[in-house]
């Protein structure tokens, strides 16, 4: 295991005090193993984030057991840090509020922004760690155009690339971060875990939002917290053609779950009026727009306007566009598509790449 998977030349000859966030999954298990093999002083930490019911999440007791057991096998210390209150405040409560306000939030991005790469980062610093590692499939790369800068690069395994949900990382954070499995394919990660005899080698990937129970899903989760309002479904001429149980569950561009039956013409949600609980469906071309407004933009190292490649969902296709400032305010931009693209649901992350490196990202505005 001669540095296989190490994506970052900074660490080859130096020993660091590294804290690795161990979810109990195979990626962070292997990340920890690689760091140990590279000779760093490694401590594993599992973040306890969600105190409620969950079956898929990263903080169930059995996941903590897995992380602890892997740490024991690797001969490193393992701790559990409870960021449950912060998780409620910065991830779960806004998730609910966003749905109530008609937005489509991305809680994994908010967890990265506020918990993993903020609260946990500051905790790591306070405890004397000079590096933080996670099992994300992404790379930290030097920017060839700006050798003084680091960027989040795409993971080597395109199907598992997580650069999209890491778009908020800035230079301070990138200087102290390492993603040990970012240069590996998922298959290689699993093979290495199996070679090392780690109990997480065959553990299935986590699928959905960690605090949403597979039984009941989003609808029950939201329904337990906010009133869900039935909505009218209308066509583009305003004629009512059906209903849905809750307007809070509807997302722009959605096609399934509208109870439209075997409609010959595929119809999509093209507009949602939350105030009147009215959902308009129409043909896909009605969703297409020439430009997209993006708010709360965080730049990896200052604004980069002009030609860009833009991605609007975790594994969505990157599209060519031009990025323009709005009102001279670096936190708001206009993405002008080369070809018309589907309007992005408000609240979703819009991430800007140059040569497969993240240069910034923000939240789709209306």
């Amino acid at each position: 295991m001669s540095g296989k998977g190490l994506d970052d030349k900074r660490n080859v000859n130096e020993r660091h005090d590294v804290v690795v966030a161990m979810s109990g999954g195979v990626d962070s298990s292997v990340a920890a193993a690689l760091l140990v093999a590279q000779g760093h002083r490694v401590v594993g930490v599992t973040l306890k984030l969600w105190g409620g019911d969950s079956d898929s999440g990263c903080c169930s007791v059995s996941d903590v057991d897995d992380a602890r057991r892997v740490a024991q096998q690797l001969g490193i210390d393992h701790h559990v840090f409870n960021f449950g209150d912060e998780f409620d405040r910065f991830v779960v409560d806004p998730y609910v509020a966003d749905h109530q306000a008609g937005r489509t939030p991305n809680p994994c991005v908010e967890c990265n922004r506020h918990i993993k790469f903020d609260r946990f980062f500051r905790r790591a610093d306070a405890l004397g760690f000079d590096m933080v590692a996670t099992g994300h499939h992404a790379r930290i790369v030097d920017d060839p155009a700006r050798p003084d800068l680091r960027r989040v690069g795409r993971g080597a395994d395109g199907a598992k690339d997580q650069s999209y949900v890491l778009h908020m990382l800035d230079q301070d954070q990138l200087a102290r971060l390492v993603f040990p499995v970012g240069a590996m394919t998922k298959a290689d990660v699993r093979a290495l875990a199996a070679d090392l005899g780690l109990r997480t080698a065959d553990k299935p990937d986590s699928q959905d939002v960690c605090f949403i129970h597979s039984v009941g899903g989003r609808e029950r989760f939201l329904g337990d917290r906010i009133p869900l309002r039935p909505a009218r479904l209308v066509d583009e001429t305003g004629v009512e053609i059906g209903t849905v149980d809750s307007v809070e569950m509807v997302t722009l561009g959605q096609r399934r779950g509208l109870n439209l039956g075997g409609d010959a013409n595929r119809r999509y949600v093209v507009d949602i009026d939350h105030a009147s609980a009215t959902v308009t469906v129409g043909e896909r071309h009605r969703l297409l727009v020439d430009e997209q407004r993006v708010e709360a933009v965080q730049w990896s190292a200052g604004p980069e306007y002009g030609a860009s490649t833009v991605q609007c969902s975790a594994h969505g296709a990157p599209r060519s566009a031009t990025v323009e400032p709005i009102d001279g305010d670096a936190s708001s931009i206009r993405v002008v598509w080369q070809e018309p693209q589907q309007r992005v649901a408000a609240g979703q992350s819009v991430v800007l790449y140059r040569d497969d490196m993240v240069v910034g990202g923000g939240t789709a505005g209306v």
Partner: protein, 394 residues
């Protein structure tokens, strides 16, 4: 093997190091006295003699008759047997204080019981207890009030509780969880009026997995939790943990013999620890004191502090870097720290409760342990306050 060398062990309320004499007797029993005490042949009789002699030793320390001792797998089983056994014997409800260990609290809640609050000083609210006894006196199976709290070290007014219960609910059994008390209080004397008394060996230099419940005559109808081979006069089925029982007996006897001389020494060290930290660190609250520095109703061993603006788990991490082994309030099943129900019952706000630290001394704690803790805790708290809270991007 874990390296214990150099460890400043300040977590004696969690568990204590095994006494060397306990290790000796247990090794000898495990190796040679392997008979089943319930049997008839000489190897069985030898094991039974170990259990009988241990029972006499433990009963002497607890001020009970040998026949009133029921050996259990530890404090949790003793507490569960007391609560559930009393409820099943009477068909009535249990009552406990809001600051009981979960080994009492959870069975009480499970059986639909009532809880009685405490004051800001961590002592049970006797007026509230009296109200409960007056309004529910005939419906109650057992009143359970701990001798000393495991987090704060606050000693509960057992004599006053017992007087109230005997007056207002005379048919109700009295239980006390004395698991934290044996090193620090004369348990025989303070629990003399209690029908049921729980102890746990590993809190006083004995082995884990061994405890006892005193079952005085008023409680003789207690229904067993573990039904089985008729051991312990039918009150607790299961083959005896002979070595554990022997170890507990030695530990109890030695502890009782040393108590009078050790308690003032430990109290002096604890006072220096608490006084120095409270006077040198800003934003710290010592729990369970009647006024700053007045620890008159705390056990000698516990220094329990809440620091503003930090998280216990981060402080414990830094302390461990300096070989200081301490703990915070309580951990959930994942190992994450949760604010304690004890502090909540005492009226501490959640943020402050998140910053709690329990330093619990033992008979073996040295001045060096205390001085190391003093030198480490203040700077660690300051570091966390500066580096973790400041620069909050959120």
């Amino acid at each position: 093997m874990t390296d214990t060398l150099g460890a400043h062990y300040l977590d004696n309320a969690a568990t204590t190091p095994l006494r060397p004499s306990v290790l000796d007797i247990m090794t000898s029993v495990l190796a040679a006295t392997y008979g089943n005490p319930s049997g008839a042949h000489r190897l069985a009789r030898a094991a039974n003699q170990v259990v009988d002699e241990s029972r006499e030793s433990v009963s002497a320390v607890l001020g009970a008759e040998p026949g009133q001792i029921v050996f259990t797998s530890g404090g949790t089983e003793a507490d569960n047997l007391a609560i559930t056994g009393a409820v099943e014997a009477t068909g009535k409800r249990p009552v406990c204080s809001a600051i009981e260990h979960h080994a009492v609290l959870d069975p009480v809640v499970h059986h639909g019981g009532l809880t009685v609050g405490v004051g800001g000083d961590g002592r049970i609210d006797l007026d509230q207890l009296a109200d409960v006894l007056r309004s529910h006196g005939t419906e109650l199976a057992v009143v359970s009030i701990m001798a000393a709290n495991n987090e704060t070290g606050v000693i509960q007014p057992l004599a006053e509780v017992s007087a109230l219960v005997r007056e207002l609910a005379p048919d109700t059994l009295l239980h006390t969880d004395a698991v934290q008390a044996l090193c620090w209080l004369d348990v025989a004397s303070v629990t003399a009026d209690y029908d049921l008394v729980s102890i746990s060996a590993h809190k006083f230099g004995g082995p884990k997995g061994t405890g006892a419940l005193v079952v005085r005559d008023r409680a003789r109808s207690l229904v067993p939790l573990l039904k089985g081979g008729g051991q312990e006069r039918g009150r607790r089925g299961g083959t005896h943990n002979v070595a554990g029982i022997a170890g507990m007996a030695v530990a109890a006897t030695e502890t009782a013999a040393q108590r009078a001389s050790r308690v003032p020494e430990v109290a002096a060290r604890r006072d220096r620890l608490a006084d120095t930290i409270c006077s040198s660190v800003d934003g710290v609250v010592e729990t369970g004191v009647r006024s700053p520095g007045d620890r008159g109703h705390k056990t000698a061993n516990i220094c329990h502090l809440c620091f503003e603006g930090i998280a216990s788990e981060a402080l414990l991490f830094l302390l461990e870097k300096h070989d200081i082994m301490a703990s915070a309030a309580s951990s959930c099943s994942s190992g994450a720290m949760e604010p304690s129900h004890v502090l909540a019952a005492m009226g501490f706000d959640r943020d402050l409760a998140f910053g709690s630290l329990r330093l619990s001394l033992g008979y073996d704690t040295t001045d060096d342990d205390v001085e190391t803790a003093i030198a480490t805790i203040g700077p660690a708290v300051e570091r966390l306050r500066q580096r973790e809270r400041d620069g909050d991007r959120s």
